[in-house]
Amino acid sequence: MEKPILVVGGGPAGLAAAHALGGLGRQCILVEKEDRLGGAPILSGYHKLVPSGEYAKDAIGGMVERVIANENVTVHTSSTVSRFEGEPGRFSVDIEGGGTVEVESAILCTGFTHFDALNKPEWGFGTYPDVVSTTQVEQMMSSGQGIRCPSDGRKPKRVAILLCVGSRDRQIGREWCSKICCTVSANMAMEIREELPDCHVYIYYMDIRTFGLYETKFYWRSQEEFKVKYIKARIAEVTSDGERLIVKGEDTLVKRPITIPFDMVVHAIGMDPNVDNARIAQTFGVQLERHGYIGEGHSYGALGHTSRPGVYVAGSATGPETIDDSIAQGTAAAMSAVARHSSAA
């Protein structure tokens, strides 16, 4: 008899993998550490997703409902995997609150952790209340509260979005590009301009990576329709004159130092490896790649291989990833897992 397949993590990749497995008529056990499914878009309260513009609670919420309704999928929330042993085709797994089960294979969809901007103290996060992260702004919008300065609740007249906070920064050991923050920031800038037409939004960048088709829909549209200003600069420090925030740095196109006052500064925070990756790697016996994400094999044979046969990986567990690609990878990893064991049987 076919054994179930284990999916670890209930974000976009895990939901896609569980849905694919259930749809193929395979039993799937989905284990989620938090008390509900949905992953970062739901747990961190994202507002509208890029590039679709759909509300996270509708789009990802729909994926959650679909998985919960799938009779082939058994969901364990507030639960983790404490032991994982055996061979491909017959792994023995201890699930907290779910007892010991035997599974054929496992797909790790354990995601990422938002960069904590406290690790970039010179940019004022944690020092000045009006320095916020993109996640906080998402929450301001998704909660219906609107864009307000946390210090006194006023509507900002001028907002700076700093890109690459916790990305492409060798100084703090984050050498990677988090891939989607440029697009998210361009989208956020447009949303701010839409809500507060009198508020000017400046994006400070070293390079803009609104890759692929996002160039039209986000990069150019934000400038041409929404008058968002992009300033190529290196930011040295975010400080305060007692009334407003002061962004200090160098405008590298104009080649002059800048000290510009702002009401609100938004850190476009990057994607760190999941803080639990060391433990996850140990439990599942997989290797991490050099940055601390879960190492992934070449894609030419099948997608989503880890260093351990029978254990697959998908989504932002492998490195910074978009929601759409996480969903694609979750589906592909499910296919890899099913195909391997179908041919082996």
């Binding site: 400046y202 150019w220 200003k229 300033i231 405008d251 104009v254 080649k255 002059r256 130092p257 000290t259």
Partner: protein, 265 residues
């Protein structure tokens, strides 16, 4: 200097003093050189709208910074500091202080319109240059250019009389620009004209210089033109926020005057 070779320190920002003492320390001479602050401390968020409100600047928002204008530019070939693309960038970002560094060369545009023809976005950079030069004058960053003064003398006369009398235009222009009326080339030209011109024509020219002819029934046209020109000027001043500035200055002057009077009492 080509923009990628731009030095961080502009020559005009380097200061050295023959004799200077600061807090009792002698800092005279070349070994103690000071460099003026070059920090950008704010953006002028109205700048693009202001330029767009002036004739020629209407399409500045279309620019996507391809650089075709600068590449095609006649003046840029002679002076690499003349960079329309860069100025459009500065205006759109509101970097007024950086634009003002080039205030003394922006007027040099020769209106050859090569940029107009190569621009893929129909920005009409030539128009933007014109609007920017105009903006610099209206804001008081530049004195009125000679060509502006000529335009004024010329158009005032047309508005007034409906005719152009060359001699009067030239006299007015020389007077307002502080130039001598009898310049060598002028004397030479008049001599030659006089020696070649038929007597009847000479007489007519002489007469028009004296009696200042007008177009018949010009009055209503003059009023209409004046009204239109005033309207346009008023609109430009409003767009640049100059009326508020003038009102503010007047109010300040009044209150200062009142204070002075009261102190006399």
């Amino acid at each position: 200097m080509p923009i990628h070779e731009k030095s961080l320190i502009r020559p005009e920002n380097i200061l050295s003093h023959e004799k200077l003492e600061v807090d009792g320390v002698d800092v005279s001479g070349h070994w103690s050189t000071f460099i003026q602050d070059r920090v950008v401390t704010d953006y002028n968020e109205n700048m693009e709208d202001e330029i767009a409100a002036l004739p020629g600047g209407e399409h500045i928002h279309r620019c996507w910074q391809c650089g075709s204008c600068t590449n095609a530019c006649t003046v840029n070939a002679l002076n690499p500091d003349f960079n329309p693309r860069y100025w459009i960038y500065l205006i759109r970002q509101g970097m007024e202080s950086e634009l003002l560094r080039d205030k003394d060369i922006i007027w040099q545009c020769v209106s050859c319109h090569k940029c107009t023809h190569v621009c893929p976005r129909d920005v009409v950079p030539e128009g933007v240059m014109k609007a920017t030069a105009h903006w610099l004058e209206l804001k008081g960053h530049r004195p009125k250019s000679h060509s502006m003064i000529f335009d004024e003398v010329f158009s005032e006369q047309v508005f007034e009389t409906g005719k152009i009398e060359d001699g009067r235009v030239i006299r007015g222009f020389f007077k307002r620009t502080g130039q001598a009326l009898t310049q060598d080339w002028m004397v030479e030209m008049v001599k030659k004209v006089v020696s070649k011109l038929p007597v009847s024509l000479m007489t007519r020219m002489g007469m028009s210089a004296l009696i200042r002819p007008r177009t018949r029934h010009w009055g209503p046209a003059r009023e209409a033109i004046r009204e239109y020109v005033d309207e346009q000027k008023q609109r430009e001043r409003a767009a640049l926020g100059l009326n508020e500035l003038v009102a503010q200055a007047a109010a300040e002057a009044r209150s200062a005057g009142a204070k002075q009077e009261s102190s006399h009492v």
